[in-house]
Structure formats: C-alpha cells, structure tokens
Amino acid sequence: MKYALYLGCLIPSRELSYELSVRRALPRLGVELADMEGTNCCAPFGIQSLDCVSWLALAARNLCIAEEMGLDILALCNDCYESLSMTNKILKESEDVREKVNATLLDVGKEFRGKTNVKHMVDVLYEGVGLERIEKSITNPFKGLKAAVQAGCHLVRPKILHYGVGRGFDDLDRLVKTLGIEVADYEGKEICCGGPLRDIEDNFARNLSRKKLAIFKKANVDCVVTVCPFCYMQFDMGQLEIKTMHKEEFNLPVVHFAELLSLAMGFQPSEMQLKEHKIPADHILLKHSGG
C-alpha cells in the first residue's frame, strides 16, 4: 500500500507529534507514505463559505499533485478529508463544474483528470491494514487506560462521502480498543467540538467544548482520543483558554490516535515529541503503557 501523504496546514505547523507518529507507525504496518510537494491548504469551510469555485479549485490543485504521482491520497485531518474527497466526488461527477474549475487551473499548469481517490487515515488503518495486523504489531498494549473517543464531524459526515452514519465512529472505537484501551460511553458522541466557530463566534465555540469537556470528565476518563487536528486544538489548547476565562480546570490530556498507536508499537515518546501537548499527556500514557 502506497499513498500520497497530505499533511494539510495545521498538523505540520502545530501538531508535529501527530505527523511524527504517523511517519513512525504506518510504514511498519505496510503503509508506504510518499510526501507531496508544493501542496496548498485544502480549502476548509471558511473558503467554502465565500466562493464555491475557489474552494473546488484550491482542493483540486492538491488532487492534481496526487494524480501526477499516480497515487491515492491519505489525509490525516478530518477537514482536509472532507474538502478533498467532496471536491473529488463533485469534479468526477460533473463535467460542467470540472471544466469551470480546470479553466481556473490552466495558468498554473494543472488539470483535474479524476485519477485519484481520497482516504482518511482511519479508513486506511481499519480497512486497508486491518485490526488483525495492527493487533500483531502491538508490543506494549495499554493497561487500565480509559478514553473518550472524539472522532470529529467530518470523519463520518456527510454520509454521501465514504463513511455511512455511525460507521466511522465504530471503526475508530475498534481501533482504540485494539491498543488495549477501554472506550468510554458518553453523551453526545456525535457532537462537534465547536472548533469551526473559533474566531467567528468565540464564546459559543468555547462554551461548546467546555460542555463536552465536562461530559468527558463525568465519564471518568484518563484522556480524550481524536484523529482531528481541530478537535485536538479545541480541547487541548482550549482547556488553557477555559482556565483563563472561566477559572475552570479540567486537566484532561488530549491525544491523537496515531500517538497512542506508536506508543503501543513500542516507539518512545521522544521519537514523537509527545511533550508538545499543552495539557501534559506523556506521564499518563507511560503510566498506563504496558512497556
């Protein structure tokens, strides 16, 4: 299995430990990763809100790079996944839109041909690699660690993309369980972290994540697990903002699934720069790690 690795902006700029974990763990599971040169922003909802053709053109430029490499895309971020896969679907299905978008790409020497597919990391791990192979690669399973899984919206919605409703949630839960982690049942699992309204309706975004953090805390979990860099930021950095603004402290470590996977496969925290978390996570993960 070989994929073009689409990092997006947030992960390589702010969440290096996620990127490093993926680069450590996935090749050992038989997933070869090829770096994409000169990619741009996936065109998230901010751009999608302003102009439809601009969104499609920005996303399509990235798809073109993967087409030139002759590879399918592996996306690490939920929003990148949504933007790229939705664009791929629209441009493959509609000749009119494809022509319109290709006309805007002509000056930069790109043309969308519809020769690539977009996969989320969860998709590649769950369906491509499979639970059995992951289980076999685990040398240091976690013991006594209980986690709240926050899959994030666009891993599962909208349903017209790859995943059916509910299926993505289950996939990620099963992946987390494979590492020996107990997955907590909690209220409002499908509810957004609030991240998309950050900088737009700040109070609302913060209150929504605050509400969710209180639910996690009530579920008595050791950490929150996610695959979405926006959920990660909203809950990790968000806890510092909540502490300042509301004098409320949760002290709940937030970790990426890939970080847990790497630890369970025997990689050392220093190899993934796990110290970067705003809410320290390395101590709790090592305490529970079987290694």
């Binding site: 390589p12 702010r14 102009d51 909208p158 349903k159 409703v165 900088d199």
Partner: protein
C-alpha cells in the same frame, strides 16, 4: 429564495418542508436560542431580512448533522454555505474569515509554521513547508482576491 436556490450548494432550499428535524439535530440550537436552522430556512423561504439571514448563517458549525438527518435532502448545512457566499459577493464577510482567506491567498496555507517549528522540522528531517504562489494566480482567476479585498501585485494576468 430563488437566488439561494440558484447559488451553488443552495438548491436544497427548494425541498425544505419545515419539519424541524434539522433544529432537533443542531448542536448550536441546543445551546442557544439565537440560531435555529429550521427558522433560518423559513426566513429564506419567506424572503425576510437579508442582513439577519447573513448574520444567522455564521452561527453554523458545518458539522453536517442536519444534512444527514434531513428526510427531504434539503441540506440545511449546504444552504448555509450558499447564503454565506451570496453575502460575500455583496462584500459582507466577517473580518476573521476575510483575514483567514487573505492568509491562504498570500501563503497558500491556513496556518504557517513559526520560525522555531521550521527549525525543528529541519532538525527532524521533515519536509519544509513553502509558500505556494500558484494560489494567488488561481484566486485571481476565481475572483476570491477581490471578494476579500486582497490586493495582488503584478501577476501573469495583469
């Protein structure tokens, strides 16, 4: 309503029967009375105040729960995006969103690494993240630069 229906992603407005399932599924409506997606759709159907419609559209998280639950395929979450783009064409863009778009046009990226992250990436042997000039050209072609008031220097088309 027809302006929305004729805007990309806005067609769903034609199918809305005001059943309220979107309102029942919306995490924003659960937390505040300021926004209710059914009422938002109703405002468009009735052709009520544009300004209120534009402001309301920026309360949506784009979590797409309404999209998956709507029995009519009215795609409320998509209609929101269509309404925002109509507002944008008329020059009505929230400041933080315009700033974000300008950053993407300027650098090609939503977020850029700080100096220390660049150094760290270099030390770890991770690929460098460089500005993508193509984005300025593409955004000139689509006109997004004008929508958000980004003034480009001399480029291939001028």
């Amino acid at each position: 309503m027809h302006e929305v229906a004729n805007t990309p992603r806005g067609e769903g407005i034609l199918w809305c029967i005001q059943c309220g399932r979107c309102a029942g599924s919306c995490p924003v409506a659960r937390m505040t009375t300021a926004y209710n997606p059914r009422r938002f759709m109703e405002m468009i159907i009735l052709g009520l105040s544009r300004k209120t419609m534009y402001d309301l559209a920026w309360h949506c998280l784009s979590c797409f729960t309404c999209l998956d639950r709507c029995p009519q395929g009215a795609d409320t979450g998509e209609v929101v995006l269509a309404v925002r783009s109509i507002a944008a064409r008329g020059g009505d863009v929230p400041k933080s969103v315009a700033a974000m778009a300008k950053r993407i046009i300027e650098t090609g990226h939503l977020v850029n690494p700080t100096g220390s992250v660049r150094t760290q990436r270099q030390k770890l042997g991770l690929p460098e993240l460089t500005p993508v000039k193509d984005v300025q050209i593409i955004m000139r072609n689509t006109g997004l630069d004008r929508i958000v008031g980004y003034h480009q220097g001399k480029g291939p088309k001028e």
